[in-house]
C-alpha cells in the first residue's frame, strides 16, 4: 500500500516536472509558432542563475523563484530582439538559429563556469510513507507546477494579455487586428516563456544538478511534450505531460530507466502519427 502511494507521488512528480520543463516552450510555440531549440539551455541558465545567487548569500527560495526567472526572462528578451525577430514566419530557420544559440550557450557557460560548479542541495528534508522515505522537495516541485499552471490559466482567462494570447493562438493575425503592437507582444511572450523556463530550471536544479550540457537531457522531452500536446498551451501541456509522465515513470519502475525513456519516445512517435496536430488538435480544441 505504501509502495503504491510512493509510486503515485513519483508519477505525479514526473508529470509535474515534464509540465514545468515544457510550459515555457509551449507558450513560445503556442503563441509565436517558434520552436526554440535553445530551450534546454534556458533551463540550464535558470539553474546557474539560482546557484550564483545563492552563493552570493541570497536565500535559496528567492534565488529560485525570483532571481532565476527574472534573469532568464531578460536573456529571453535579448535573444528575441537580436535573433528571433528577424526570423518570424521562417519556422525552420528559427529552429536552426536557436539550435546555434543552444550550442553557443553551452560553450559560453563552459568557458565561464567550467565544469565544477558547486550545486545547491534540496531543502525541506524528507518524510516517511510507511516503510519508505521520500523527499519533501518532490512535493514542492509538484506544488510549483500546479501554481505555475494555475497562474497561466488565470492570466489567459482574465487579463488583457490573456485575451491577446487566446486570439493569437486561434489566429496569428488576430493580435495585429486587436490593435496591439506585435513586436512588443512577441518580445513579452518570448521573455515570459524564457522566464518560466528559468524558473523550471532553478526549481529542478537541486534535484538534477547543474552542468553546462544538462539542457540536452531536457530539450528532447519538452519538445516532444509540446508537439504531442498541440497548440493549446495549458490543456496541451497538461495532457501530454500526464500521458508521457505516467508512461515514463511506470515503465522505469517496472523495468529500467532506459526502457522508461524509450517507452516515452515511442509513445510520442505513435501519438504524433495518430494525432498530427497533437492531443489538443483533436480533443479540447477550444481549450486554453
Amino acid at each position: 500500500m505504501d509502495l503504491v502511494a510512493l509510486l503515485a507521488i513519483q508519477v505525479l512528480y514526473a508529470i509535474a516536472s515534464l509540465a514545468l520543463i515544457s510550459v515555457g516552450l509551449a507558450i513560445i510555440f503556442g503563441m509565436m509558432r517558434v520552436i526554440n531549440l535553445a530551450h534546454g539551455e534556458f533551463l540550464m541558465l535558470g539553474g546557474y542563475a539560482a546557484i550564483v545567487a545563492t552563493s552570493h548569500g541570497i536565500s535559496i527560495w528567492i534565488a529560485m523563484l525570483v532571481v532565476a526567472p527574472i534573469v532568464v526572462g531578460l536573456i529571453g528578451v535579448i535573444v528575441e530582439r537580436t535573433i528571433i525577430r528577424f526570423l518570424y514566419g521562417r519556422m525552420i530557420d528559427t529552429m536552426l538559429a536557436t539550435w546555434g544559440l543552444s550550442l553557443f550557450l553551452v560553450g559560453l557557460t563552459t568557458a565561464i563556469f567550467g565544469n565544477t560548479t558547486v550545486g545547491i542541495s534540496a531543502p525541506l528534508g524528507s518524510f516517511q510513507i510507511g516503510a519508505y522515505r521520500t523527499s519533501v522537495y518532490t512535493l514542492f516541485v509538484i506544488a510549483v507546477a500546479a501554481v505555475v499552471l494555475a497562474a497561466i490559466f488565470a492570466l489567459i482567462r482574465w487579463t488583457r494579455l490573456g485575451l491577446i494570447a487566446r486570439g493569437t493562438m486561434q489566429n496569428a493575425n488576430m493580435a495585429a487586428a486587436l490593435g496591439v503592437n506585435p513586436p512588443r507582444v512577441y518580445a513579452v511572450t518570448f521573455g515570459a516563456g524564457a522566464a518560466l523556463s528559468g524558473l523550471a530550471g532553478a526549481v529542478l536544479a537541486p534535484v538534477s544538478g547543474v552542468f553546462p550540457t544538462i539542457g540536452v537531457a531536457y530539450v528532447a522531452k519538452s519538445f516532444i511534450t509540446v508537439i504531442g500536446g498541440g497548440a493549446a498551451i495549458l490543456s496541451g501541456t497538461v495532457s501530454a505531460s500526464a500521458l508521457f509522465g505516467t508512461i515514463n515513470q511506470i515503465a522505469t519502475f517496472v523495468t529500467t530507466p532506459v526502457f522508461g525513456e524509450v517507452a516515452l519516445l515511442a509513445a510520442a512517435i505513435i501519438l504524433i502519427r495518430l494525432l498530427p496536430q497533437g492531443i489538443t488538435g483533436r480533443f479540447f480544441r477550444r481549450g486554453l
Binding site: 550545486g119 522515505r133 521520500t134 529500467t256
Partner: protein, 407 residues
C-alpha cells in the same frame, strides 16, 4: 617508504647530467609528447585535471634540463568528447607530430579507439585512467588501478563496518558492468549477498523510482559505480529522500571527477572510497608535489584527482624508462619499462608489472568529509591480480586484446 637505491642514484645522475648540459638542451630538437584528452564536452571534468598534471610534469622535466639533453614539447589535443577525433588525433600524433609517446584516453571506449591506431603506427601508448582491467598489449602501459586493486580492499572494509547485504548501482557501460561483477564476487566471497545490480545509462538524471526500489530491498549499504555529471543527481536525490543517514554508501568512482566538490557535505559525507591517490596523502613527495601543483594552477584548484595523478605518474614512468634506455626508440623504451621500472611518486612507490604492463602501487581507503577526502587505511603495493590472471606479455609478447576476465 622504501626508495630503490639504484633508481635513486640514476635519477640524481641524470638530473646532474641534464643540469650540466642544460644550455645545450634548448638548442636540441624537442621530443614531442602527445596528450589526447577530452577538454570540452561531457567528459571534460576528467580530462582537464589530467592535462594539467601532464603540463606540470613536462614543465618540471624541462626545468630539470629535459630528457636525454633534449627539451620536451607537449602537443595537446582536445577530442571534444567526440570519438571520431580520437582516431584523427591519434593518427596525427603518430604520423605528423611523430611523438615519442601518447598519453591519453579517458573512457575505455576512447582507449579502444586509440590503441589499434597506435599499434598500427608503432607509437608507444600510456593509458592513465582507472578502468575495468584486462587490456593486454605490448605497446600499451596502464597506470590506473583496476578492480582487483581497489574493490577487493573496499568491499570487506565496508562490509565489516556496515553489514553483508549490498545493493549495487552502476553506470551502464563496460566499466560499470565489469566492476559490478567484481563487487558481487568479493561480496559473496566475504559471505554477503547482492540483492540487485541496477545499470544506468550515462545521461540518466531521474533516480526516483530506483531510490524506491533500493528502499524496498533494504540493503545494509549501497555500492555506487555511477559515473559522470548526470549521475551526480543520484546522490542529490538520495540525500533529499533522507536516505543518506539510514543507508550508507561505498564507491570506486565517486570523487574521481569532482563529485564531492559539487555536492554539499550533507549529501555525501561518510561515503567510503578507495583509490591510489588522494591530495591529502601525508608524505614528503606528495606535499612537495601538491605545493608546486597549486602554485602552477592556483590555490583554489578544486581537487587533484586520481586520474591527474595517474597521468603524472604515467609520464614519470615513461621518462624514467627513456633515461634508462638512453633513447626514445619505442622498443628500447618498452624493454626498459619491462625491467620493472619504479618511481617514487606522490602516491607512494609505483612499479611497472612487466607481464601485464600495469602497475604495482599503494591504495588507500578514504572517507568523504566536508569536501575533503580523509584517508582511513593504507594498503601497500597492490598487484594488478585481475589482469595478471589472463595476461602475460613476457610469455606472449604478441598478445594484443582486451580480455573479459572470467569472474
Amino acid at each position: 617508504m622504501r626508495v630503490n637505491r639504484r633508481t635513486f642514484m640514476q635519477g640524481t645522475a641524470a638530473t646532474a647530467a641534464a643540469g650540466m648540459f642544460s644550455s645545450s638542451a634548448v638548442a636540441e630538437e624537442p621530443i614531442n609528447v602527445a596528450s589526447i584528452h577530452d577538454l570540452s564536452g561531457g567528459l571534460d571534468i576528467y580530462g582537464k585535471p589530467m592535462v594539467d598534471a601532464m603540463t606540470l610534469a613536462i614543465e618540471e622535466a624541462n626545468a630539470a634540463g629535459g630528457l636525454l639533453g633534449r627539451p620536451l614539447k607537449l602537443i595537446n589535443y582536445d577530442t571534444q568528447s567526440n570519438m571520431q577525433l580520437y582516431t584523427q588525433f591519434a593518427q596525427q600524433a603518430a604520423l605528423k607530430d611523430k611523438v615519442a609517446v601518447v598519453h591519453g584516453g579517458i573512457t575505455s571506449a576512447s582507449r579502444e579507439v586509440i590503441r589499434p591506431v597506435l599499434d598500427k603506427f608503432k607509437t608507444l601508448y600510456f593509458y592513465n585512467t582507472q578502468y575495468e582491467g584486462g587490456v593486454c598489449d605490448r605497446n600499451q602501459f596502464d597506470t590506473g588501478v583496476t578492480p582487483a586493486q581497489t574493490v577487493e580492499k573496499l568491499v570487506p572494509y565496508a562490509m565489516k563496518k556496515w553489514g553483508k547485504k549490498v545493493y549495487v548501482i552502476a553506470a551502464d557501460y563496460n566499466y560499470g558492468q565489469i566492476t559490478s561483477q567484481w563487487v558481487k564476487k568479493y561480496v559473496i566471497e566475504n559471505g554477503g549477498e547482492v540483492p540487485a545490480i541496477d545499470f544506468f545509462p550515462l545521461d540518466v538524471t531521474n533516480f526516483g523510482p530506483t531510490i524506491s526500489k533500493i528502499q524496498a530491498a533494504k540493503p545494509d549499504f549501497v555500492w555506487s559505480a555511477l559515473v559522470g555529471g548526470a549521475h551526480i543527481s543520484f546522490y542529490r536525490q538520495w540525500a533529499a529522500a533522507g536516505m543518506r543517514k539510514s543507508i550508507p554508501m561505498a564507491s570506486t568512482t565517486f570523487a574521481v571527477g569532482n563529485e564531492h566538490i559539487v555536492l554539499s557535505p550533507d549529501e555525501c559525507n561518510g561515503m567510503l572510497i578507495c583509490y591510489n591517490y588522494f591530495q591529502d596523502l601525508k608524505n614528503p613527495v606528495n606535499e612537495k608535489f601538491v605545493a608546486s601543483f597549486l602554485k602552477r594552477f592556483g590555490a583554489d584548484y578544486p581537487n587533484i584527482t586520481e586520474l591527474a595523478m595517474g597521468t603524472y605518474q604515467g609520464f614519470r614512468l615513461w621518462a624514467e624508462a627513456v633515461k634508462k634506455a638512453g633513447s626514445i626508440d619505442r622498443m628500447k623504451v618498452i624493454e626498459a619499462l619491462e625491467t620493472g621500472i619504479s618511481i617514487d611518486a606522490p602516491s607512494g612507490k609505483v612499479t611497472i608489472d612487466p607481464p601485464t604492463h600495469h602497475c604495482v602501487l599503494d591504495v588507500h581507503i578514504a572517507e568523504v568529509a566536508d569536501k575533503k577526502l580523509k584517508v582511513l587505511e593504507d594498503f601497500a603495493q597492490q598487484k594488478p591480480a585481475d589482469t595478471a590472471a589472463v595476461c602475460d606479455l613476457i610469455k606472449n609478447p604478441t598478445d594484443n586484446q582486451q580480455y573479459v576476465i572470467k569472474i
